[in-house]
């Protein structure tokens, strides 16, 4: 009896690998291999024109007497920009997303329409939203300046995307517009799983809605919220499209992805650019590992 059982099991396992093989091969080809090659290039002097003649130069792209990436103030600036952008935009998106989610969790007439409206920014390609906002934030003919001037909030036109003090805030603003809906949907999914009897009890006891939110709702949707924040943060850390189109390669808004691509393609320094890309990969991998460990320990505690 044991024999045919294990025979069947072995056959099932074999089937599993046969069915997995195509996906694994493609994944290795489009993800694994290019990643390994990028890391390898980061230790070479590869140039875009002649990548095949790349020579191994050790850690010189990272740290060298003539200046590696770790000694480049522009790189550190892009690291700081990326972190600043991620923290600020994800924080604002979380608060806004929470508000929108709470709004959509209320049963009211026209809720379907509002949910559809909220989804529209998510559906718009990032490039298109960058262009749309670039036009709205235009320093001379932009509608935002016009609105603010009409409301007497500003006295003259403001260069939202060109002024070094404002450009990063403009990027954050557009990103918040685009991705708040994603945040709201994830939080809403968490909200809709909550049992309604806690709320009934709270209402009978006459507890204020704000207190209910902080004492009941927030702790209960905490796991869903963490997942949403982690996902958004991982996305924000690799931001490229929005910044490339909205403010191109201005130093004030340059992120790690923009820096890496500029070195790689515009300056043709594949080795140096790959080093930047590898560092970005390591930072994101570390962030992912940390969150995994944090959520694991939380889960085992609870």
């Amino acid at each position: 009896m044991a024999r045919p059982q294990s025979e069947l099991l072995r056959a099932r396992t074999r089937t599993a690998w046969v069915f997995l093989a195509p996906m694994l091969i493609v994944l290795a080809l489009v993800a694994g291999w290019p990643l390994i090659r990028t890391i390898w290039f980061s230790f070479t002097d590869a140039n875009l024109g002649k990548m095949s003649q790349a020579k191994f130069i050790g850690f010189e792209n990272y740290y060298a007497s003539f200046g590696g990436i770790l000694q480049d103030p522009d790189w550190w600036r892009s690291v700081w920009n990326t972190v600043w952008f991620s923290v600020v935009s994800v924080s604002i998106e979380t608060v806004f997303g929470m508000i929108v989610a709470l709004l959509l969790n209320v049963d009211f007439k026209g809720r379907g329409f509002v949910r559809a409206a909220v989804l529209v920014p998510w559906a718009i390609p990032t490039i298109v939203s960058a262009r749309m906002w670039g036009w709205m934030l235009h320093d001379q003919f932009g509608i935002i300046n016009d609105m603010l001037e009409r409301a007497h909030l500003i006295s003259g036109p403001v260069a939202w995307t060109a002024d070094p003090r404002l450009s990063m805030w403009s990027v954050v603003f557009v990103d918040v517009w685009k991705t708040t809906s994603f945040m709201a949907l994830l939080i809403l999914a968490g909200l809709q799983l909550l049992p309604s009897d806690c709320y009934e009890a709270a209402r009978v006891d006459g507890i204020s809605p704000i207190k209910v939110f902080f004492r009941v709702t927030l702790p209960l949707i905490w796991p869903a919220l963490i997942v949403a924040v982690v996902f958004r943060s991982l996305d924000a850390l690799r931001v490229f499209d929005l910044i490339y189109v909205l403010t191109s390669s201005a130093k004030e808004t340059m992120t790690m992805s923009v820096y890496a691509r500029q070195q790689l393609v515009d300056f043709q320094q594949v080795g140096y650019g790959s080093a930047a890309a590898t560092l970005l990969f390591l930072i994101i991998a570390a962030f992912t590992a940390l969150t995994l460990i944090a959520t694991r320990s939380r889960a085992s505690e609870g």
């Binding site: 599993a16 195509p22 994944l27 489009v30 036009w135 869903a224």
Partner: protein
């Protein structure tokens, strides 16, 4: 009194959220319908609407070709991702075997990859295979964006189906390929539509690969074409046409999202709650 105030506040908030979400797209439509000479004065309504920008965008640059390119690349990517996703999801979702957890974590890890981290390796691969500046090159590259979450969402869905449904078929001696095609595929339709749509949107919006792996105007996809739309000089951007192009490529997406609203929301949250 308090009640009324609360109600007013609530509807005010709803109005703000709706206006905030929709106004930029509304303004893009307004701008696209105005003659380009008039764009130097701000207007909140197209007083003399014209479709000149919409016809203009197809003249002087292969924008029609760009749209076709985007459709071809995205469709092939969707079909490939779904095929590989279904077969892999059957193995990962229905069969107990050693290393399954590890594989699922690997797939999840790939979806966290920053695109830039594979850029130089992918560039080398695409140039080596002679696919630089061609649509197949973009199809291969885009798989890294769509395959991981397709596998993940379909696996979650497969795992949720009751165990009994394939037992009879196994006893009858049906092969796994037949089981997948005859039993799972019909049940998977809703999940396939959801993941297919999300994959289509992801591929349609992809920018970094399309920017780096294409050279000529005629091989570009829509996002790159819009990013490169330019006027006579660098400082004289044809905003009316840019907005027209933006509206053209966004309207079908918005239509899709509105039609499949529930499915997309379900897919997005299923893709995330997994974590």
């Amino acid at each position: 009194m308090m009640r009324a105030l609360q109600k007013i506040g609530f509807w005010l908030l709803v109005t703000v959220v709706v206006l905030y979400s929709l106004f930029p797209f509304y303004y893009a439509i307004v701008s696209s319908l105005r003659p380009s000479a008039g764009l130097f004065k701000v207007a909140y309504w197209p007083h003399h609407p014209t479709f000149a920008n919409y016809t203009g965008v197809f003249v002087g640059q292969p924008f029609g070709r760009n749209i076709l390119n985007s459709i071809i690349v995205s469709s092939v990517v969707v079909v490939l991702s779904l095929f590989l996703g279904v077969t892999a999801a059957y193995a990962l979702g229905r069969i107990e075997f050693k290393g399954r957890g590890f594989l699922l974590m690997t797939v999840l890890a790939v979806s966290m990859f920053p695109q830039v981290a594979v850029l130089s390796g992918m560039f080398e691969l695409i140039r080596w295979s002679g696919l630089y500046n061609s649509l197949p090159g973009l199809m291969i590259a885009n798989m890294i964006l769509t395959l991981p979450f397709t596998v993940w969402v379909l696996t979650t869905f497969m795992r949720g189906l009751p165990k009994e449904i394939e037992e009879a078929a196994i006893v009858d001696g049906a092969s796994p390929a037949i089981i997948v095609r005859r039993i799972f595929l019909p049940l998977l339709w809703p999940a396939l539509v959801t993941t297919g749509l999300l994959a289509f949107i992801a591929s349609w919006n992809e920018f970094l690969f399309a920017l780096t792996f294409t050279l000529s105007n005629s091989e570009r996809t829509v996002p790159v074409a819009i990013a490169f739309l330019s006027g006579a000089t660098k400082y004289d951007l044809p905003w009316g046409r840019i907005m027209a192009a933006s509206v053209i490529v966004t309207l079908p997406l918005i239509a899709l999202v509105l039609i499949f609203q529930r499915r997309i929301v379900a897919g997005l949250t299923a893709g995330a709650v997994k974590g």
